[in-house]
Symmetry: C2
Subunit: 247 residues, 2 copies
């Protein structure tokens, strides 16, 4: 029997502010499209999670140090913005084209350590990544009763454009390991581990318009990846430093 | 009005062999789930495209040279398999853990230059990437009358696991450029270019089981990305060499 996968953006979510009960607002929005089932996956753009958690920095509260001033001058950026990026970075891997490619304390490698000025909800305000996105996903899962993926857009080393990836997840197996399984003809698959949570994040991005205020997308039809436990989280998709292909 | 995105794998495609009329077989399979509309996107795993195009190599027809023998000995691989990988590579970027990371003549950076022994349909046979996947997508589009994305699983520099990406496309805008557009509060978006075709490939992967012989997935609800022309193809998502972050 052929079953499909269906995605729908939750309509009518309000602008999220620090301290808001995001889970309650998501439940309310989900009710407009039939609610959430335990086998659903809800993909949530990290920005609303960060805002609800108060992970915001007002630019006028930031005093840039010498390194931030130097990088800012070199790359035509606001030194206060650069200071926040440095504060959110464990390491700056590369700086070019006005973009800092950083490794965050979580282990994510992404532009500007995930610090973003767009859609911050207030002028001169920066949005940070959640401090522990897997914990954020677990908390939402426990309130919503369905699997949760928290997403952000990351660039890629060898491809142009950004793809949405999973920075947090709970109740979803983040990866599917096919190593050692036979293919249709009995030959061992040379593949591989499939980054299911990242594919979920990418799929969800197709169902929302970035300018329409639809940060949450419900995905139905992924029962085989939904788990009874919170699971390993999206941290399982971070390539360990010692396995980094460019060191 | 909230509209969703729906994905369904085309059921009952037979094993594809060199010379098969893949488009006709896809139309037949699509008919079982209601057919294809001009605004649909059909994501097709490259393996069936490569097979129909005869992009197969029998291992016993390969005579490995010294470089292949050396790499094979070093990495515990079959020297004939390595020779085929070298033949399909413009450059070997890195060799480790039994895996060669190569840049193909198309410009793709991927493991083993996309050469794969699993699900080849015959023993001791390797499947190559299509010679020109965008041309393959255009040809399929003209027969099918819908947008087409041809996909493969690529690893990532900084994340574990593979994600399905677009190696060819036609009739779908491969990227959506948000640079310069205002966000909801009128501030210019720091983002970015979204790799729509890669997100489509990733989404499609969720709707099929790799062991169930479902290489084609129909995606409905992406009207805004479907174009009247063939368009730039997935080649537009290849990061140019001079822009490579690791040179």
């Amino acid at each position: 029997v052929t079953t499909g996968v269906d995605l729908v953006a939750l309509p009518g979510l309000p602008e999220i502010r620090p301290g808001d009960d995001l889970a309650a607002l998501l439940v309310e929005a989900a009710a407009r499209v039939g609610g959430l089932r335990p086998t659903d996956v809800l993909a949530v753009a990290h920005k609303v999670v960060s805002k609800a958690e108060g992970r915001l920095v007002a630019l006028n509260s930031v005093f840039p140090g010498w390194e931030a001033r130097e990088l800012a001058a070199e790359h035509g950026k606001d030194a206060r913005h650069v200071q926040v990026i440095l504060d959110e970075s464990a390491e700056v891997l590369r700086a070019d084209a006005g973009r800092l490619i950083c490794r965050t304390p979580h282990g994510f490698v992404c532009a500007n350590a995930g610090v973003d000025a767009s859609n911050a909800g207030a002028p001169d305000t920066l949005v940070l990544l959640p401090a522990d996105p897997d914990a954020s996903a677990r908390a939402l899962r426990h309130s919503l009763g369905c699997a949760v993926v928290i997403t952000d857009s990351f660039g890629r080393a060898w491809r142009l454009g950004q793809c949405e990836v999973a920075i947090g997840c709970a109740g979803l197996a983040p990866a599917e390991d096919w190593r050692g399984r036979p293919d249709a003809t009995g030959r061992e698959l040379s593949a591989t581990v499939i980054a299911i949570a990242d594919e979920v994040a990418a799929a969800a991005d197709l169902a929302r318009g970035k300018d329409t205020g639809e940060p949450a997308v419900r995905i139905r039809g992924l029962e085989r990846h939904v788990t009874a436990e919170d699971g390993d989280g999206a941290a399982a998709l971070i390539r360990p430093l010692e396995d980094d292909l460019f060191r």
